[in-house]
């Protein structure tokens, strides 16, 4: 890869694997919490889990945790840190086109999601088993659109927040409620009505429903898929406008 974009992407992929925050939040945290909570409710189908195996429920849900960790924690901190320290100015002065850094981050984010998801499924397979895919194309579309939406949100946050510390604070503040209410916490049916209403408004809940429902055969997830598609389009346009940096 000898183009400026190619060189930048190669370096950014290497740096991603050297970043303790990425390794912790994107690769270790989802796997660890999936193992803990996936084993907490047994394997017998239960009504609050739409009558499916609770362990499978969480295996299908936790791909979204990877997506959220990438978009809400990894990318905003990384980008804000680069802006704060003048790394982006140095790239710009060296002739890297303005779009190349944002595109590299988009690709790095998607690679992080793909790799961490593979790791998660690789760990889940011998422990809980991988649930059968009922509608492959819907699941693939949900993962793809959800990843694009949250990676774009990550780029957007990284270009808006003034420092790495601010990005970390805001990112964690967005991540944990989304994680607990929208993906890795109790199932929606176990939540009180008010909390369930709030959970339904979270973007991550829509991504989770768009992936989990067609995966486990608990519903088509069409409304959620449309909502995620709209979110992906809107966040990508906004991120592209902001990422002119």
């Amino acid at each position: 890869m000898t183009t400026s974009f190619g060189r930048l992407l190669k370096v950014e992929l290497k740096l991603m694997l050297r970043d303790p925050l990425v390794l912790t939040f994107v690769f270790v945290f989802p796997v660890l919490t999936m193992l803990i909570i996936g084993g907490s409710f047994g394997t017998k189908p239960q009504p609050s889990f739409a009558n499916v195996n609770p362990a499978h429920w969480y295996v299908a849900s936790y791909l979204t945790v990877v997506i959220a960790a990438t978009g809400l924690v990894m990318l905003p901190v990384h980008l804000a840190s680069y802006r704060e320290r003048g790394v982006l100015r140095r790239f710009a002065a060296a002739g890297f086109p303005r779009w190349s850094f944002a595109l590299a981050q988009l690709v790095v984010g998607l690679v992080a999601v793909a790799t961490a998801s593979t790791v998660e499924l690789g760990v889940a397979a011998p422990v809980y088993g991988i649930p059968a895919l009922h509608e492959l194309w819907r699941v693939a579309l949900g993962i793809g659109l959800g990843a694009v939406a949250f990676v774009s949100i990550g780029v957007l946050l990284g270009t808006l927040l003034p420092s790495a510390r601010a990005a970390q604070a805001v990112g964690l503040l967005l991540f944990f409620p989304s994680f607990l209410l929208g993906a890795g916490g109790p199932p929606p049916d176990a939540l009180p009505h008010a909390m369930r209403s709030i959970a339904n408004l979270l973007p991550l809940s829509q991504v989770t429903a768009a992936i989990r429902d067609p995966w486990l055969g608990t519903g088509p997830g069409s409304a959620s898929l449309i909502a995620v598609a709209i979110l992906a389009a809107a966040s990508t346009v906004l991120a592209a406008r902001r990422a002119r940096l």
Partner: protein
């Protein structure tokens, strides 16, 4: 964008200017940081921008690099508009920026590979030249301040750029490395590379620059070769010595008052102080030798560029020298 002195602008563009700036203005909010700067950098020149903090030096070079869009004025760098032709221009410019960094975990060799516009293979040679050969696998975060500066210089010189912009080049470098960097800049000049240096270190400017441009509050106060600026603005040379033969002292001091270049002779007990221009140093020395009274405690204080800059910054604003420069360019056209 600019309607000022069109003949001069055309003249400047037809000469071998690498950088041509006319009427550059830039505001941050309501604060005007660059206010009508005119600047020419000829091919092969080493030009220094000097001035206090907030003088507008860095903003001026950021506009030249295309990193900031000017509010008004005309810029041409290597015949291109830095704002419009940024992507074509930037590979031709090597930049060492003030207040910027690299990713903490990026290794030295990876940085060289990342910033090499072409596979010229000069990265390895530059790393060796600047004493970073042994640090190829070191992460940026583990480098000392001096090593980071040297790495930035290596990155600025990759791919043999036609214009090199160095902002606070020797900040944080120890004296031996500073000499190494000076030698590198001299080598660039010998190879015909044009260098624009932004610095607080007036020793750098005096040692390296063919011409310096002094700025204050976004405007150019004066420009010229360092020695000329010193002659124009620095305090006088000062010669001090003890009077050995008290009886002959009055006659000696009277003689010194008439020596060429001497402005003032003062006596304070057994000490004499002579003020004058640089030529006075030689004439006073000769007079002391003629009178067989060469003092053992003779000291000479030569005015420096720092003295000149302090005088400029303290004094009233000088007329812009660019008018003279434009006249020269128009003359060259005729």
């Amino acid at each position: 964008m600019c309607s000022r002195r069109p003949t001069a602008i055309v003249a400047a563009m037809l000469t071998n200017n690498v950088v041509t700036v006319r009427g550059l203005q830039k505001c941050y909010g309501r604060r005007k940081v660059v206010d009508g700067v005119d600047l020419d950098v000829l091919e092969g020149e080493v030009v220094g921008l000097i001035g206090a903090n907030g003088a507008g030096k860095t903003t001026t070079v950021e506009c030249i690099q295309g990193l900031r869009r000017p509010d008004a004025g005309m810029l041409r760098v290597l015949g291109l508009d830095p704002a419009r032709d940024a992507e074509r221009l930037r590979p031709l410019i090597g930049s060492q920026l003030q207040d910027s960094a690299l990713p903490d975990r990026l290794r030295v060799a990876e940085a060289v590979e990342l910033f090499s516009p072409r596979r010229t293979g000069d990265g390895e040679a530059l790393l060796e030249q600047f004493g970073l050969g042994e640090r190829r696998r070191s992460a940026f975060a583990s480098l000392s301040g001096g090593e980071r500066q040297r790495l930035f210089l290596v990155l600025a010189l990759l791919g043999r750029p036609r214009l090199v912009i160095l902002d606070e080049l020797t900040q944080g470098l120890d004296p031996s490395v500073r000499r190494n960097v000076w030698a590198a800049v001299s080598q660039l000049r010998n190879e015909g590379t044009t260098v624009l240096l932004v610095t607080h270190e007036l020793g750098d400017a005096e040692a390296l620059c063919d011409r310096v441009v002094a700025m204050r509050a976004g405007r150019i106060l004066d420009s010229g070769p360092p020695a000329e600026l010193v002659d124009r603005h620095a305090r006088r040379a000062t010669i001090r010595f003890g009077l050995q033969d008290v009886a002959a002292s009055d006659a000696l001091l009277e003689e010194l008052r008439d020596v060429a270049g001497v402005d003032l002779v003062e006596r304070d007990g057994q000490r004499a102080t002579v003020y004058g221009d640089r030529s006075a140093i030689a004439h006073v020395g000769a007079a002391l030798v003629r009178n067989c009274s060469v003092p053992a405690d003779l000291s000479v204080q030569i005015p420096t560029l720092e003295d000149a800059l302090l005088d400029l910054l303290d004094g009233p604003e000088a007329p812009l020298p660019s008018d003279n420069h434009d006249q020269r360019l128009i003359g060259a056209m005729r």
